[in-house]
């Protein structure tokens, strides 16, 4: 039986990045992906942030299947009867090296896996890793059905549900309170219609986030990304709260599609796919042990994902952690030491990179984002305030500050707003 230097489980961004780096450095690498092709099992919202991949594959956007470049970000507070939005556009985001890339995973992950093969690794798609091999208490390879594949190191990049990290003794199951459930529809529309509706030219793209009634006040939000010929429209909702409220994401997505803000944007469109996936959202508080003898855990499997409420960065974190895992494996190979001690270098590398630094900077964000007032109260408050300011009702006007004060008093108290702002200051 051929022995591999490294086995990677999972052909998402984390697994592909790590296999790519190791193969380029000359290691004998085997990557397993349970989907028929890399990407077949993966869905997401849609905006990828590029610096790490640009480091790995310079100017990747020239060959990768990019749908559009994000040049417009909208944050919309959605109330029952309307919405209040912040609309940001940048001409700088419109030129290389760009900032955000709107991607569809079934195509993008497939492209990354192709690069991994070109770098010299073997990509075994349609193969589900079922178990780990152990030797002297250390991970020493993987099992697919009855077949054994020994290796010096196993990189676990098997995503949020990582049953293998559990088998390696690195983590226990993630809890529903720490997870968001994402559901999405891809809705086809002609390219020109998309560009007109979203005020875009050429390859410009819009990333729109919604907070408020779209999740019926539950922690989470809505998203809409413009692809070339389709829209990605979906919701992410904290799983624990969803179930406690006896609501279903599938119903809320239908409701969202019928909100007047959304229905006009998707009008005439044809749904072509419905997908769902979990997101580990509690940051450092849920991060498992990252290394054990013979194995490292990367990306979503290790909850290495940043959600600040304003941005969700997962794929670039996955790539950065995959690259750090690969570097750790290369150094371990040099020393021929794959013990837990030697592999603890991985955590050190993550601490030196933005991955653990950002998660540390925003360590208060996950708890802050559980505050229901963000979703239930503030979008309505903003709506009422601006409605009162813009409305002309034939009565003498009150001063703007007076209007704001009265509405706040009716809805809540100044003290709780100040307290929430104080917490926000520390968290995000």
């Amino acid at each position: 039986m051929e022995r591999f230097d490294a086995i990677v489980v999972g052909g998402g961004p984390a697994g592909c990045a790590s296999a790519y780096v190791m193969a380029k450095a000359g290691l004998n690498v085997l990557l397993f992906e349970r989907g028929k092709f890399a990407g077949a099992k993966n869905m997401w919202g849609g905006a990828f942030f590029g610096p790490q991949l640009n480091e790995l594959i310079p100017e990747f956007w020239k060959e990768a299947p990019v749908e559009r470049f994000v040049t417009r970000h909208v944050l919309s507070f959605m109330a029952e009867n309307g919405s209040t939005s912040l609309d940001f556009k940048s001409t700088r985001f419109c030129a290389a090296p760009y900032n955000g890339f709107i991607l569809l995973r079934a195509k993008f992950d497939g492209w990354m896996a192709q690069k991994v093969e070109q770098a010299g690794a073997i990509v075994a798609a349609g193969m589900r890793v079922d178990d780990l091999l152990f030797q002297e208490g250390r991970v020493s390879g993987v099992k697919v059905g009855d077949e054994e594949f020994p290796s010096d190191i196993v990189i676990l990049a098997d995503g949020v549900n990582s049953l293998l990290a559990k088998k390696a003794g690195l983590r226990s199951d993630f809890l529903p309170e720490d997870m968001k459930q994402g559901v999405k529809e891809v809705i086809e529309l002609p390219r020109e219609t998309i560009e007109q509706r979203f005020n875009l030219v050429n390859d410009e793209g819009a990333a729109i986030e919604f907070v408020g009634t779209c999740t019926r006040g539950l922690p989470g939000g809505g998203f809409l990304y413009t692809n070339k010929n389709s829209l990605s429209l979906g919701l992410v909702i904290e799983l624990g709260s969803l179930v406690k409220s006896k609501l279903k994401a599938s119903d809320l997505l239908e409701e969202f599609k019928h909100h007047p803000d959304i229905s006009r944007l998707i009008e005439g469109g044809r749904t072509v796919e419905y997908s769902a996936h979990l997101i580990p959202c509690s940051g450092l508080a849920m991060m498992p042990k990252l290394a054990t003898g013979g194995a490292l855990v990367t990306g979503d499997a290790a909850a290495l994902l940043l959600g600040t409420g304003l941005i969700l960065e997962g794929a670039n974190f996955a790539i950065a952690s995959g690259m750090a895992a690969a570097q750790t494996a290369l150094e371990a190979k040099e020393k021929n030491d794959f013990s837990a001690g030697s592999l603890s270098r991985y955590e050190q590398l993550l601490k030196e990179s933005f991955v653990l630094q950002d998660l540390n900077t925003f360590r208060g964000a996950p708890a802050f984002l559980k505050n229901r007032r963000i979703y239930e109260l503030y979008p309505e408050l903003a709506f009422e305030i601006f409605e009162a300011i813009f409305q002309s009702d034939g009565m003498p006007r009150k001063g703007t500050l007076q209007v704001v004060k009265e509405i706040i008093k009716r809805r809540t108290s100044m003290i709780s707003i100040v307290s929430d702002l104080w917490k926000a200051r520390k968290a995000i």
Partner: protein, 96 residues
Amino acid sequence: MESEEGHLKIEEKLALNKYDQDSEAHITVSKEICTACDQKPCIYACPAECFAFREEHLSFAHEGCLECGSCRIICPKGAIQWAYPRGGFGICYQYG
């Protein structure tokens, strides 16, 4: 094939997806435990509505499963035997 008021039903949505169905189910549930369960959180947790409570019984159909793993972590009774489908089977996203 939209239903009334332009609402897409879950079966209609799942029918748009591409699956390579395996005849053997990758998830199995214990009928006894589930029928006796007073909470049935799986019904709300499953985005594909694979779990339904009909005529006093919990029914589960694996065919529409999106393999998200929500039911696995939501079940408080250990009634769900959960695995991913065999390699190459199950949901096969064309967009993602």
